[in-house]
Each structure stands twice: as structure tokens, then as C-alpha cells.
């Protein structure tokens, strides 16, 4: 009961804190998606059908990963550095309620960007997507994993290191992650690394449910996401509960 009451009040608090931030975030995510679906055809004027679908479904995946693994850890890192996270931790609320409330608000920030990303892709390439009903749990799973892992990065690393790592993640996600291309384009050793990291699985789950007629939906990807989600949440929860 106390958990639910705290959760509701904390969601209100965190949503109000981010309300000015949400339109900006949506604009940036839309620009991301626009950049990808408009930019890639400039680089590669002739795109085959698979590539078009990869780009159209990769844009929303990149959008989720960028918020979860870049914007979120930077924001949490800032809150840690300025002491506001410590203030929130001093409140008489269960840690679980605080963490789940904050993740809920971050997910709410992530999701509109996904919808916009899909719409922008479908519009640019004139696609008629046969979106699977599984898209809802799939997108929620991807968004939750991205936010949990991002939260864990900020929780365990000092702020400056978080900034550096997240900058590296931007390059890694845009250039070297199989979100807008298939993993077999990568060297075998790099493909092996991606097979255990969560980013490839995020791409597979997203495209497998947004364009199920074009791509399969590997169950292993769900499992990979579940493991990373659990790990991210566990690390964050432990860091939140820890007394220095």
C-alpha cells in the first residue's frame, strides 16, 4: 500500500520535473529518426528492400537506445553530482518505489519517439507496415532494458566517466551496432561481441514486431534483453540502496 502510494506521488513529482524536458526530447528523437531515414538514402542512393526496412525499423530502435543509454545516464549523473539524487534517496519512501517511478517516467519519454520514428520511416519510404500486436510488449521491453542499463551505468560510475562512456556509446550505436544493418555485415569477432550485448537484441525485437513480414522474431533476443534488464535493474537497485 505504501509502495503504491509512494509510487504514485513519485511519478507525479518526476513527471512534473521533466515536463519541460519532454517536448524537447520528442523533438530530438524525431530529428534522430528524420536524420536516419533521410540521411541514409543520401549515402546509399540505391537501397534494396531489406535495407529500406532495416532503416525504417532501425530509427525507432536507435531513438530508444539513445535516450536510455545516453540521455538518461547523463541526466542521472548530473543529479548525482549536484546532490539532488541524494536528496531523493533521503525521502521516506521504499527504494523500489523511487526507482520504478523514475523508470516509468523515462519510459514515457522514450515511447513517443518510437511512434514518431516508425511514422517518419513509413512516410519516407511509403511503407505499409503490418505491425504485430507483440510490438507493445516488445517496445516496452526494449525501452525498459535501455533505461535500466543506462541507469546502472550512471549509478556505478562517477559523473565524468559517465559522460565519456555515453559519448562512446553514441558512436558505437550509430556506426557499429546492427540496428540499421544485419549483424552478418560485421566481422565474426565483432558479431560475437554483439551477440551478448543488448543492442543487437533491441534491434531484432524492434524490427521483428514492427515489420514481422520482413524479419523473424528470434526468441533468444527476448532472453538476452531479459538478462540485461534484470542485471541493469539489480545493479541500480543495489547502488541506490547502498550507504557510502
Amino acid at each position: 500500500m505504501q509502495l503504491l502510494r509512494s509510487y504514485r506521488l513519485l511519478v507525479t513529482w518526476q513527471a512534473l520535473r521533466k515536463k519541460n524536458y519532454l517536448p524537447l526530447m520528442m523533438a530530438v528523437q524525431t530529428l534522430f529518426s528524420l536524420g536516419i531515414v533521410l540521411g541514409y538514402p543520401l549515402l546509399f542512393p540505391t537501397l534494396d528492400r531489406t535495407s529500406i526496412y532495416l532503416i525504417a525499423t532501425g530509427a525507432p530502435a536507435i531513438s530508444m537506445v539513445s535516450v536510455g543509454l545516453v540521455a538518461l545516464p547523463q541526466t542521472i549523473g548530473e543529479q548525482k553530482a549536484e546532490g539532488s539524487l541524494a536528496y531523493m534517496r533521503s525521502l521516506p519512501v521504499p527504494r523500489l518505489a523511487y526507482l520504478v517511478a523514475d523508470l516509468t517516467v523515462w519510459m514515457a519519454i522514450v515511447i513517443p519517439g518510437v511512434v514518431l520514428g516508425v511514422l517518419v520511416g513509413a512516410w519516407r519510404f511509403g511503407l505499409e507496415l503490418q505491425v504485430s500486436p507483440l510490438v507493445v510488449p516488445a517496445v516496452l521491453m526494449v525501452a525498459l532494458t535501455a533505461t535500466c542499463v543506462g541507469y546502472a551505468i550512471a549509478s556505478i560510475l562517477p559523473y565524468m566517466l559517465t559522460v565519456v562512456i555515453t559519448q562512446a556509446i553514441v558512436v558505437f550505436v550509430f556506426m557499429f551496432s546492427p540496428l540499421t544493418f544485419l549483424p552478418d555485415k560485421l566481422p565474426a569477432w565483432f558479431e560475437a561481441i554483439h551477440s551478448v550485448l543488448p543492442i543487437q537484441a533491441m534491434g531484432e525485437v524492434t524490427r521483428g514486431t514492427i515489420a514481422p513480414n520482413e524479419f523473424g522474431l528470434p526468441l533468444g533476443a527476448f532472453l538476452t534483453l531479459a538478462v540485461w534488464c534484470f542485471l541493469g535493474f539489480g545493479v541500480t537497485y543495489a547502488a541506490m540502496s547502498r550507504r557510502g
Partner: protein, 320 residues
Amino acid sequence: MLLQIEELTKVYRTGVRANDGISLAIGEGEVFGLLGHNGAGKTTLVNQVVGLLKPTSGSIRIDGRDMVADPGLARRLCSFQAQAQVPIDGLTPRQAIDLLGQLRGTARTEVERRRERLIDALDLGAWQDEDAARLSGGVKRLVAFAMAAVAPGRVVMLDEPTNDVDPVRRRLLWRQVRTLADHGAAVLLVTHNVIEAERSVDRLAILDEGRVIAEGTPAGLKGRLGAALRLELVLDPDASEIPASPFGLSAVPVGNRVMVGVPMDAAGQAVAWAESLKHAGSVEEFTLGPATLEDVYVALVGGAEARPAQVEEVFDATAA
């Protein structure tokens, strides 16, 4: 005593000993000041009470219950105004105070009633529906105080509550601090503003390098100084040495000033002595007034040049 801290020591992983065997006891209805320089260990102490930091050794008890073993209970029993600004940008003061009150378990209608009273008492009405992102630092601190006061715990800890607050509202705030104590809370007030502390606290402790170096009522501590009056000398910039006090009490240098303790019956003698220094050109001007808590504080932890021999000297003289 409601809050009982015994032999509290905190050594950070970096090896810094921020608290070193601190023992304090604060009763219901008492406003207790914790004074000290930046880095004296005040915030470390408060963060341990509220369960953000784990003591290396020692105990913290509220109402006899072990707070180190149960940090969740510590957060429920303590309300806290942190030194950092509260994260309320995007919220109005009204929303922020209401949310905090409800998060502390008080019913919404009761929270609203108390919030209205606090906003009136702190004269915050003009800003109550403004986005906190647009508020000045001082107004935000008052809102942070109201958040700590709307549904207070048994112990209320206020870390530098008056920073950036204008002089008129500071008075309003001190009145509310007293109201909290009058309603039975033990108030632990962290500050380096000695002048305000003298007027506002019942008892205080002075912390230096993680240790309590003096504790008592403001009057009691001033009594320990052994001087009812203070003579403040402003040195001539060319003066080569600090004048030696003729009253058996030390002369404590602070920048280009020297504070000299003067017994009540030596007031005339002190003025004559200061006049002679002025004539000799070693002193530009002087003032004689009642000794303040600041004099005690300066004597104890004053300029770095005044420590530690100076501290011993002052209290040796007192004991003599």
C-alpha cells in the same frame, strides 16, 4: 534524549576522517546548532543520521532505536533539508510542499492546511504557483524548508537553511524553526552563520576537523571565554606585530583585525590601552562591545594561524 549520537566516526574510503568520535544528545523541543568551518564534518554527520552514509563506528539512536541498523526507519523519523538545492524545477512550491507532506504519510487535506500556514508564515504567497525553475535561490531554500517542515519527523535536520535568504524572511524562517521545536521535534541545525546561531539555538556544538571541540549553551560558551567584553582592533597595514593583550587573555588575529577578550571591570583600561595603540600608529581604529558567540568560535576555530596553540591559550586563560 531523543537523538543520541555516541562515538560516531566516519572514515571515507579515501582515508579522510570526516567525523572522529562525535557524541551528541538532543532532546525533544530543543534547537541544537552544529557549527563549524566548511569541511569540519557537519554534513557528513547529518548524512549518517538520515541514513545516506554508514558510520565506520559508533551509534545513532532516535528514541532509543538503532538508526544505523535500520536506515529506512531513520528516513521516516527524520525530515531533512539538504545543503544542496531541492530538485523541484518544473514543480510549483505548492506542488512540491504537498508532495513531500504526502510522501511522509500525512493525509492530503491536512498537508494542504499546513502548507497554507507555512506559505503564509514564510511570506511565500507571491511565488506559490510559479515554476520553481524561475525562483531565486533564497526562495527555493525557503520552499525546501517548508518541505522539511510540512510533515516533520521526530528529528528535523536543517543544513544551512538560511543560505541566500533575505534578512526579513530569515527572521520568519527562524520563527518557524522555533515552532518546530515547540511542537516537540528535536531540531538539528547545521550552519556556519555564528551570529544567527547565537540568537536561534538552545545549545550548540562546535565541530573542527571532525571533532566536537566545544559544546554548551551560547551563554555558557561565552562564559568559558572568560571575557564579558571584546575589544576589536583594526591593525595598521604597516604594523609589524600583534599587540600583546594586557588582560591575561589572548589576542586572536583574524585577517587585519585582532579580537581581545576584556573582563567587564577592565573596560576603561581597555579603551585607554587601545587609544595608546592608536596614538602609536599600530592600530587604525577600535571598538569595544559585549563578547559574542562569534568570539568564542573565532577563538576556537578562527583563522588557521590561530590554531591550535591559540585554542589552548584561550581556554588555558579561561581556566586560570
